[in-house]
């Protein structure tokens, strides 16, 4: 059996929990992300020599029995102060889906900068909220200053079919951008 980890990122309130719930075959769960020796707030309770930070993230999964494979989805907290956690989670991840909301594109820049610099495949999915203005993908790409090689598509994070389409688009992208013979990842410690 094999497994693959996919990170769902994007700013606070953009619909990451909703997306994980729509994509997952189980009701989404909250699971802790505990990072030791992160350079943030400290918890010296268990080991005075280590700093530990704990937060919660969304977890969901899809099992493909015929393929003997499981896709593990982690929706990570969106605030920029959790960058150390994104870094930690991207270690063995196949890449990321970054959700954006056209009502507040500025809030997306922190996430986009991070995932672009991660060197891993990612795509941008515009989550459409009721009452949000419709822009063309060209307009959104321009506003986000998104390079041409990063796919951009629209989605409805509440919809299972839409979430599935985003996942398929991501895997397509990952297959076309990564060399078939595996190159070591560019210095991303787990």
């Amino acid at each position: 059996m094999t497994a693959a980890r996919l990170v769902i990122g994007g700013p606070y309130g953009v619909g990451k929990t909703t997306f994980v719930g729509a994509a997952s075959e189980i009701d989404p769960l909250r699971t802790d992300a505990t990072v030791t020796d992160a350079s943030t707030t400290t918890d010296r309770l268990l080991d005075p020599h280590k700093t530990t930070t704990t937060t919660l993230m969304d977890f969901g999964r899809l099992t493909f029995p015929d393929q003997r494979t499981m896709l593990l989805l982690y929706g990570v907290p969106g605030q920029d102060r959790f960058r150390f956690l994104w870094d930690h989670l991207m270690g063995p991840a196949i890449g990321a889906i970054v959700l954006v909301d056209t009502r507040d594109l500025n809030a997306s820049f922190g996430s986009l900068d991070f995932f672009e610099s991660s060197g891993r495949p990612f795509l941008v999915a515009v989550n459409h909220f009721a009452g949000s203005d419709r822009y063309t993908t060209g307009e959104i790409r321009h506003a986000l200053q998104l390079p041409d090689h990063v796919p951009l598509l629209e989605c409805d994070a509440r919809s299972r079919a839409s979430a599935r389409d985003v996942l398929i688009a991501f895997v397509h992208h990952a297959l076309t951008t990564q060399p078939a013979t595996l190159a070591p990842s560019p210095g991303r410690p787990f």
Binding site: A4, D43, L182
Partner: protein, 124 residues
């Protein structure tokens, strides 16, 4: 047993209770991670006297392969605690390890895995 019926609150994970479950141990086997997947070994009948958390893991993993992160979410225990318990249950052969852990150097751009995921998604 009244404490088991109390709704879980976040403060519980920050307390020492998770380490009471592990009898004070804080380090887990190195090959286990949040993405490790286990399944209950139906050929070995567990001895009685397991902790409630260990029983719960065996029940959940009897339904099919289940990742450590999911066990932690369902049991409302820290991933680290679940890794320690899963390590014990693997040692007793009550659990079978289906996926050890994902590694940054081998699992990030593995085309075979990506192809499997794609094939699976297309059949949904």
């Amino acid at each position: 047993m009244a404490s088991h019926r109390r709704p879980w609150v976040e403060e519980d994970t920050a307390s020492l209770r998770p380490y009471a479950v592990t009898r004070g141990r804080t380090s887990a086997p190195h090959h286990l991670g949040r993405d490790s997947i286990v399944v209950t070994n139906i050929q070995v009948r567990p001895a009685s006297g397991l902790q409630p958390e260990e029983d719960a893991i065996l029940r959940l993993a009897a339904e099919g392969p289940v990742p450590v992160a999911e066990l932690a979410g369902r049991l409302r225990l820290p991933v680290q605690t679940v890794k320690i318990l899963v390590g014990d249950l693997l040692g007793f052969h009550y659990l079978i390890l289906a996926v050890s852990d994902l590694r940054a150097d081998t699992d990030t751009g593995n085309h075979a895995t990506l192809e499997r995921v794609l094939a699976g998604l297309r059949r949904l």
